[in-house]
Symmetry: C2
């Protein structure tokens, strides 16, 4: 990708009504565009980050044997009435609209009800179970306030997974596998060391749900964490009873701000009973299916990653989700410099490396500042000086150390077999 061809531009001036750091940085760098509070469009670089995160999550969901589908945004009120989640009193984040015939419809904020109802078309016997399905979908949630940028959107991309099991044992096995898959996701996107399985409220359905909480000052939650055991308790269920139930002791628990980057939930058989999803077991008896629901906000996760790693110069992306591995900068427009930059751009691209080539006719200071703001992991500079020394200038985004390296060492740093 050549910066001269990219229509987005970096922009230091962001409207003062955008108070969240993640959104301010992402807008400045041209990754997102704010349509209204909590509602953001994803521009070419932002969409690349979204797709990189989705790819990692998709791989982990597929490794669980789950099938990808895509449900609908428009939802039938009758399903949510059956489970007492239609009224605005029960669920205070509904967006609703109306068909031409005045029938009220809901806009998707979650999918337990529609997917459970759909499964009645496919599940009737124990032979049909288990079934595990997931989707990446744009969810709409009518949040009263939306002040955390892409960490809490009114419109956002979520991966939601739903499991249908014959009994609690089958359910629990899958639930534990999902827990491990989520932890692999956080490891792969670079926040594994600061992300904790956290006991949280199970609402009406179960004793606890499990959240995955990432330590960050930008977080909206307070958790109490045991660093040694890598376990945490959300403030909402932080009682002596829960602490002892989990075999933890108050002295080892540390209070910290954190942001939820995933939430997994056992619904038991309540929804299947309410919606009539039954199966015939091996003895010929009708039983309700056990439901699990597993959410992971893709854009929220990106917001948290932006908050965690950004510094005063801009964004800092972990390599696995960065919109490019390398930002290549030419300084000066002499034929020698251009030829050398074009050649390296081609070589790296051919080697499968994603490169942003800053080929603009701009000052060095502007190019360096933009490279920092964009947060690309590796910066490579080509100038008359570097050519005269048969070297490239290399700097990692997370280091202040600028070094001159030869081609062999550059390729080694970038993980290319030369």
């Amino acid at each position: 990708m050549r910066l001269s061809k990219l229509f987005t531009k970096t922009n230091k001036n962001v409207s003062s009504d955008e108070t969240s750091r993640n959104a301010r940085l992402l807008i400045q760098a041209g990754y997102i565009y704010k349509e209204m509070a909590g509602v953001y469009a994803y521009l070419p670089l932002g969409l690349r980050v979204v797709e990189n995160v989705k790819r990692i999550v998709r791989e982990e969901m597929n490794s669980l044997g789950a099938s990808e589908i895509i449900m609908t945004n428009l939802q039938r009120q009758e399903l949510w009435q059956k489970t007492d989640r239609w009224s605005d009193e029960a669920v205070d984040i509904w967006f609703k609209s109306k068909l031409k015939n005045d029938t009220e419809v809901g806009l998707a904020w979650s999918h337990e009800e529609p997917i459970t109802d759909m499964m009645k078309s496919f599940v009737s016997s124990y032979r049909d179970l288990p079934v595990n399905v997931y989707q990446f979908q744009t969810k709409l949630r009518n949040e009263l306030r939306a002040k955390s940028g892409i960490m809490r959107g009114r419109e956002f991309v979520m991966k939601d997974l739903y499991s249908y099991s014959k009994d609690d044992v089958e359910h629990q096995n899958f639930y534990d596998e999902v827990t491990k898959a989520y932890l692999r996701v956080y490891d792969r996107v670079g926040i594994g060391d600061r992300t904790y399985v956290t006991y949280a409220s199970g609402g009406a359905f179960t004793k606890f749900s499990h959240e995955f909480q990432t330590i960050t000052d930008a977080g909206e939650d307070i958790i109490y964490l045991d660093k040694h055991k890598k376990l945490a308790i959300n403030k909402e269920v932080y009682t002596d009873e829960v602490i002892s139930h989990l075999g933890l002791t108050k002295d080892n628990l540390e209070e910290t701000k954190a942001s939820e980057v995933g939430n997994i939930f056992s619904f038991g058989t309540i929804k299947s009973e309410q919606l009539g999803l039954l199966f015939t077991d091996q003895n010929g008896d009708d039983k309700p299916v056990v439901l699990g629901s597993y959410g992971l906000g893709i854009t929220r996760l990106i917001g948290v990653i932006a908050e965690v790693f950004a510094d005063d110069k801009g964004l800092v992306w972990p390599e696995a989700i960065a919109p490019a591995s390398v930002i290549l900068i030419n300084l000066g427009l002499s034929k020698e410099v251009i030829d050398s930059a074009e050649e390296l751009y081609k070589t790296l691209t051919m080697a499968g490396i994603q490169v942003i080539y800053d080929d603009r006719d701009a000052r060095a200071g502007e190019k360096f500042a933009d490279a920092d703001l964009l947060g690309i992991p590796h910066r490579v500079v080509i100038s008359e000086k570097t050519i005269n020394q048969s070297r490239y200038e290399y700097k990692a985004r997370q280091s202040d150390n600028v070094e001159l390296v030869d081609k062999e060492n550059l390729f080694k740093i970038l993980g290319i077999n030369s």
Copy 2:
């Protein structure tokens, strides 16, 4: 993909309120699920077809140098008020909802207004133009009736492309390139020979828009086509004046039913003027940007393809968009048969061929009927009989001819270098 692991099942009984042939077949085959009239979920096989079509369209959009982005579903009324498209009288397919503070918001049925407004952040000089952006997005349109299955949904996936040009010449050049790219898409998905560039109403903005119309009895439009010149006129603008303007003669025009699979549109500078998208030209003068808008309904296109090719046994997918190239069937459960089927499944998969392996413990008749219903291009059967003859049984979906072929010939048919 093993059919024994796929949660969807073929189902001959589809609710009688689904009257469209494409949706009935797609529901029967387990590709889609009907949430409500005009609103369908995409199940694993259906999602594969959607992704295959998106991949082809994406390649063609990228070949135009357009950048992929993703805009928002929630839209600000103020933008649409400026262009007189907010009221239900002006646009009768709006879904609208409300934020918590009672502000009315629109749900995306198109994106000219938000994208044009956004471009004010990025375009100010002739140096910033042209800009061409596209997205794949779920559009919501509050259709009064939704009786054509996925050919006219209340919720559907659309590729929409928007071009911003300095002047009419630059615009027209791009418009012509898009026309060619669209024709390449229809060729690649298998309907090129029956798809016509069609002159249609330009509304308030331009003399004509151009539709791409595919001949099918399921179509909602009437067009008059000149087969020799590969041009057509939509009934809505079929006048003597238009016929002569296009250099056609009535005698060579044939009336036929067709379905629109794409629509491209010149907006001129009206929207840029209304929304204030101006740029400074080389002489220092402020000018409004020229807008083009180019729609291609992904799920609609799939519905048309289903209608065009389906026969009385079920769906028939062109190879480029089929959820798999091959359906592999084992007849009988002897170790010999299973081993041979597993081996071929592995070999074809390793060769990069998408295979659906019908490994179910089911009767031959059921497997054959499902293979036809699913519409997979190539059917390969392994049984004791075929093993004894060191052959595979091969049948193309579109042929009645069943033949025994050796491995070398099978690989040749499937395009594998053995």
